[in-house]
């Protein structure tokens, strides 16, 4: 399993991560980011991509 942390102080809810890892990240109806904090190892590459494309660099992965 991998653990995902989003620094909500940094996050600006741009939603760039949503496209890279749609199973993990979503924008809710108020355009705020929601995410699942633990995921299967199979999601690791998607979450890495999501962390890379985050303009605020708010996503970290703990393996």
């Amino acid at each position: 399993m991998i653990k995902i942390q989003v620094d909500m102080e940094k996050c600006q809810h741009y939603g760039q991560c949503v496209y890279e890892a749609p199973n993990i990240f979503q924008l809710n109806s108020e355009d705020k980011l929601e995410y699942i904090a633990t995921a299967d190892d199979a999601e690791l590459n998607n979450v890495k991509e999501a962390a890379d494309v985050c303009p605020m660099q708010a996503i970290t992965i703990v393996q």
Partner: protein, 389 residues
């Protein structure tokens, strides 16, 4: 960032050779978007913007504060400012941009600023204390973000720009006007259709003279009038330059004689790369996500040549066609864009209203080339699938 992302991609796709990352700045790679926003507003330090680097995975050597000064494609060697030189099997050019500098008859230096680097942001942060009078030259994204941040910090802010409406060359008149109105409501003054003709002051700037004769007092002048490519070091190799470096579909540098350089890749702001579906000349794109996408692609391409990346989903030489994206926060305005709005021939309001949240759609010859708006991020993101570039 482009260099770091390329190195990470190389390791991810199994490249096992040596990697050296050379930079002109003294800092390790860092994230620039917060420089005009959080970093200034909250006076944060370098750690807040440094990219996380896992040395054990990256296994790269960094050479900092030692910019490349020249290249010999023939010898496969680059020369650095310190006199050092490095031989390579593959070279990735990711030297990015620097701020364009204005020149005035009374060309004072004290009190003038640009914003491109971490050190630039710290200098502005130290000088722009509350009540200071700031003139910003340029009404693009950096100018507008700075205006919002400095206004929020309690400075008085005036923007001087050549265009009639801020952002209109990029996003269109209606969009730009909506942004301008919100800035004005927050107390930012606009002096549009004008330029700065000269600076006023003895040693330190105390004002600017506009092209229509008006004088604006100021303590700080920030020039946000675009950028220049850091490509001088590539000259002398018969590359197709002039506006960045022309590349082929796979980001390899092109020569003037239209042959390509097999072992020289160009990444990020300086790469002028061809469209896949649009009949327009190759273009450079100065958006944050482009070096990310370029780096990922080039790392994978080199790994494939070296044989460590043999996944069936990756085809060497496949047309690189990233979806450009940009975003910008100014006061409570949050702009999000996908695609290339400035190549559109038709702009239409898709949803919302100009005084609250909205989405514009940008088409060229009938097909969607961009969607952009204020707020409504979830809806804008869903529309990215429609874009064809």
């Amino acid at each position: 960032m482009g260099g770091l992302r390329t190195a990470e991609s190389l390791r991810r796709f199994g490249y096992s050779g040596d990697i050296t990352i050379v930079g002109g700045e003294k800092h390790l790679p860092y994230n620039r978007p917060p420089l005009s926003k959080d970093l200034l507003a909250q006076g944060k330090d370098f750690d807040a913007v440094a990219f996380p680097i896992k040395d054990s995975e990256l296994k790269a050597e960094f050479i900092l504060a030692d910019p490349a000064t020249s290249l010999s494609c023939h010898e496969k060697r680059i020369y650095l400012a310190s006199g050092r030189n490095l031989e390579y099997d593959y070279l990735v050019a990711a030297t990015g941009l620097r701020s364009r500098q204005m020149h005035f008859p009374n060309n004072l230096k004290l009190g003038r600023y640009n914003l491109r680097t971490f050190d630039d942001a710290k200098a502005i942060g130290a000088a722009a204390t509350p009540e200071k009078k700031v003139v910003i030259l340029g009404a693009g994204f950096i100018g507008l973000e700075l205006a919002a941040t400095l206004r929020t910090l309690g400075c008085s802010v005036a923007i001087v720009a050549l265009e009639a409406i801020p952002l209109s060359p990029i996003l269109g008149d209606d969009f730009g006007l909506a942004v301008q109105k919100r800035h004005e409501k927050e107390g930012v003054q606009f002096h549009l259709n004008r330029s700065v003709q000269d600076l006023i002051g003895d040693q330190r700037i105390s004002g600017v003279l506009l092209s229509d004769g008006e004088i604006l007092e100021c303590d700080l002048l920030i020039e946000a009038v675009g950028s220049q490519t850091n490509t001088e070091w590539l000259e002398g190799n018969n590359l197709e330059m002039g506006n960045g470096v022309l590349t082929d579909n796979s980001l390899r540098a092109m020569r003037i004689d239209k042959s390509r350089v097999e072992d020289l890749f160009v990444v990020g702001d300086i790469a002028r790369f061809p469209y896949l579906n649009i009949a327009l000349p190759a273009r450079r794109i100065e958006h944050w996500n482009i070096p990310v996408e370029c780096g990922k692609r080039v790392g994978r391409e080199i790994s494939a040549i070296e044989g460590s990346e043999s996944s069936s989903e990756f085809k060497q030489g496949e047309h690189f066609n990233p979806l450009p994206s940009f975003w910008s926060d100014q006061f409570s305005i949050s702009i999000l864009s996908y695609g290339e709005p400035k190549i559109a021939d038709t702009i239409s309001l898709l949803e919302g209203s100009l005084d609250s949240e909205f989405i514009f759609e940008y088409r060229r010859e009938g097909s969607v080339v961009a969607v952009a708006g204020i707020g409504m991020r979830r809806k804008i993101s869903a529309l990215r699938e429609e874009i064809r570039l």
